[in-house]
């Protein structure tokens, strides 16, 4: 399609405006992370400052130096907890959810819709409502403040998401393609691994990415169920609100460090997402 130069220019301007509008907070946070609290808080704000790595150094060494003295913070520990919790939760949700999604997509059995809907309904309840009884149970059976317990609770976030997104992708694969593989002499299991999974991979990637972001951003579950040594960054960031004031520089640096993994993952998964869109040869 040919476009006139004016249209192209307007299009470019519009895109720039949108990108700046949405990216500005991120950009500002990145800039803040290289400043001290003093330069951040001066009025009017200015871009004229000498960049400092002090914020990152404080986070990585775990020593928060403020004018009121030195404070220990476990940010790197929190970051590690976030990675561990999110990766394990998504991995577990994939192991459980993908075969389940396939079953719901391909085998209409008695009550299959009800079970699928029940799993989705986990997302309906307000988390706080679930949390109180859950905390009591977890304390009784010794799961409170354990990684296993948290990963289990995180399934409330990840599993329905993966199940419902991936199910749609499985349903879009023509059953004939799977029949063709079966008739060619391959077992059900082989067909699932070699045909269904590769063809649904874009959907699985998208669902896994979304589930990862939701798990990573979760706050309430970890706040209630985990103590300091098991807390992810979302909860750990509370430590920056100190008695001597809010450490904006460190918070900004912490945000930059904590969005980095999600961003990296999104960039990697993007390849699969695009591949999924161009894989148009599924149907004859």
């Amino acid at each position: 399609m040919r476009r006139s130069p004016i249209e192209r220019a307007l299009r470019g301007v519009a895109l720039t405006v949108v990108v700046v509008f949405f990216m500005f907070p991120i950009l500002w946070i990145v800039l803040m992370s290289f400043q001290t609290n003093e330069t951040i808080l001066r009025m009017p704000p200015s871009l004229d400052f000498t960049p400092t790595l002090a914020n990152y150094k404080a986070l990585i060494t775990g020593k928060l130096v403020s004018n009121a003295g030195t404070l220990d913070i476990a940010f790197m520990g929190n970051l590690w907890n976030s990675v561990l919790l999110s990766v394990s939760s998504v991995a577990l949700a994939l192991i459980l959810g993908v075969p389940a999604a396939y079953a719901f997509a391909r085998h209409k059995f008695r009550g299959s819709e009800d079970i699928a809907f029940t799993l989705l309904s986990f997302k309906f309840a307000p988390p706080l409502l679930v949390l109180l009884p859950l905390t009591l149970y977890f304390q009784k059976i010794g799961l409170a403040n354990t990684y296993v317990g948290l990963i289990w609770v995180y399934q409330l976030i990840c599993l329905p998401l993966i199940l419902w997104i991936v199910r749609g992708y499985f349903e879009d694969i023509s059953p004939d393609i799977e029949y063709a593989h079966r008739v060619s002499g391959h077992s059900w299991w082989s067909t699932f691994r070699k045909i269904a999974i590769p063809l649904a991979r874009p959907g699985i990637a998208a669902a896994a990415l979304l589930a990862f972001i939701f798990a990573w951003n979760n706050f309430v579950f970890a706040l209630v169920l985990a103590s300091a040594d098991k807390q992810p960054v979302t909860v750990g960031a509370l430590a920056f609100v100190t008695a001597s004031g809010i450490q904006y520089g460190q918070i900004a640096a912490a945000i930059v460090l904590s969005i980095a993994p999600t961003l990296a993952l999104a960039l990697v998964a993007q390849r699969y997402l695009v591949e999924g869109l161009s894989l148009g040869a599924v149907k004859g």
């Binding site: 059953p175 063709a180 008739v183 060619s184 002499g185 063809l199 004859g284």
Partner: protein
């Protein structure tokens, strides 16, 4: 589900005996040996809808059976029941006399080509074709040797189907014709003893369809496999099948040779499905006088075969193929006055639409080199010996009793 009570091997030799006993033609070949594939009373319902209703048929080893029927007749479902990917609610599938109940599709030793090709989009054409070979034990002791045999088999069948130059491409990059050949190659490569082809020429262009229609019978004969071929193109059905099973609304309405189906259709519906332009159907009420049974067309008396006397007094429909009709002089016996309304030249033949005095429309077809009236008044000769008589309400053909010479039932020659 089917209880699978019948002992393996105890196949019923009478073809279509359960369903179409009353309609099936007596000259259906009986299989001496155990049929390669036999179906007994296959029934399949989806919800309230019965898609397959007591379908029974046999395919002898090495034979080709064409499953013909309008869309929605249940042809594809039947093929899937045979392949084992769809389960029948009742009835049994026997391959080599063995009940296939509970046998997984991968264990049935079947090759299958799908109407929408069903190629694996993430694999190359080569890998697609090679899929059936991975599961079967290749010859050769080592892994490398087995791979070589596989490559050889794929390339051989690809050469046969003229797709050896596109083997490295992914299905998305292939034309429809190449996709169709790839899917056919995948079905053929492992040399299965039973081949199920689900309307493989449906989605390819007219030229390729014509080529494949010529090539396929030879290819299938060379392989020596037993073939079930699904199509809704009557020309394809007549070109490919030793025998044709006509499936209408989930029931086998007739099984027979292409000739049987064309000249001795069991029902009005089958007569309409075969032939282009379609058969002319005229409502008639056979009567009887001293000279025997007759029908009246445009006020003229047309004597019926005496063997058709059973039709007298019943409401009937007369079926006459457009190519059986011809224009003639008013003086000829059996000529009725008609008006030629329109003429459609179709290269090798010319089809005329004519109306009778009573305003009934009739199609007349003649070879293009024969001249005929293009418009205006003319006379039409109706050859009663080539006409078919159907009972109007049930649509079933009224068979001559005793079968006198000259009736379509004994006269094998003619209108093709």
């Amino acid at each position: 589900m089917n209880d699978g009570a019948a002992a393996p091997g105890a196949t019923d030799a009478g073809e279509g005996s359960l369903e179409s006993a009353g309609r099936g033609e007596s000259e259906d070949r009986e299989t001496d040996s155990v049929a390669k594939l036999s179906l007994h009373g296959i029934t399949r319902r989806y919800g309230r809808e019965t898609v397959l209703d007591q379908v029974s048929l046999d395919v002898p080893a090495g034979g080709t059976l064409v499953l013909f029927g309008p869309s929605g007749a249940g042809k594809t479902v039947l093929l899937r029941v045979v392949a084992g990917v769809v389960e029948a609610d009742a009835g049994e599938v026997l391959i080599d006399g063995r009940d296939q109940h509970g046998i997984e599709p991968e264990k049935r030793g079947i090759g299958m080509a799908f109407q929408n090709f069903a190629l694996f989009p993430h694999l190359s054409a080569f890998e697609n074709i090679a899929t059936p070979l991975h599961s079967r034990r290749g010859e050769g002791a080592t892994r490398a040797e087995r791979r070589d045999t596989r490559t050889e088999s794929v390339e051989r069948v690809a050469r046969l189907l003229k797709i050896d130059h596109v083997l490295r491409q992914s299905p998305g990059a292939l034309s429809n014709g190449q996709k169709q050949r790839t899917s056919l190659a995948r079905a053929l490569v492992a040399e299965p003893e039973l081949l199920l082809l689900d309307d493989p020429l449906r989605n390819v262009d007219a030229k390729l369809r014509f080529e494949m229609r010529l090539e396929l019978p030879r290819l299938l004969a060379d392989q020596g496999t037993t073939v079930v071929y699904v199509t809704q193109d009557y020309k394809e059905a007549m070109a490919l099948g030793d025998r044709i099973a006509v499936l209408v609304a989930g029931r086998v309405e007739q099984i027979g040779s292409p000739e049987d189906i064309y000249l001795r259709p069991a029902t009005k519906r089958i007569a309409t499905l075969f032939g282009d332009p379609p058969i002319n159907l005229l409502d008639v009420d056979p009567e009887c006088d001293a000279d025997g049974p007759y029908v009246t067309l445009s006020g003229r008396r047309y004597p019926l075969d005496p063997a058709l006397a059973v039709a007298v007094g019943r409401q009937c429909t007369l079926g006459v193929r457009p190519e059986a009709l011809r224009f003639g002089d008013a003086s000829e016996p059996g000529a009725i006055p008609v008006t030629v309304e329109a003429e459609t030249p179709l290269n090798e033949k010319v089809v005329d639409l004519v109306t009778t005095v009573r305003g009934r429309e009739i199609l007349v077809s003649r070879p293009a080199h024969l001249s005929g009236p293009a418009s205006g008044e003319a006379h039409l000769v109706v050859p009663m010996e080539r006409a078919l008589l159907f009972e109007r309400a049930s649509g079933e053909r009224i068979r001559p009793r005793g079968g006198s010479p000259g009736s379509p039932d004994t006269d094998a020659g003619g209108a093709r």
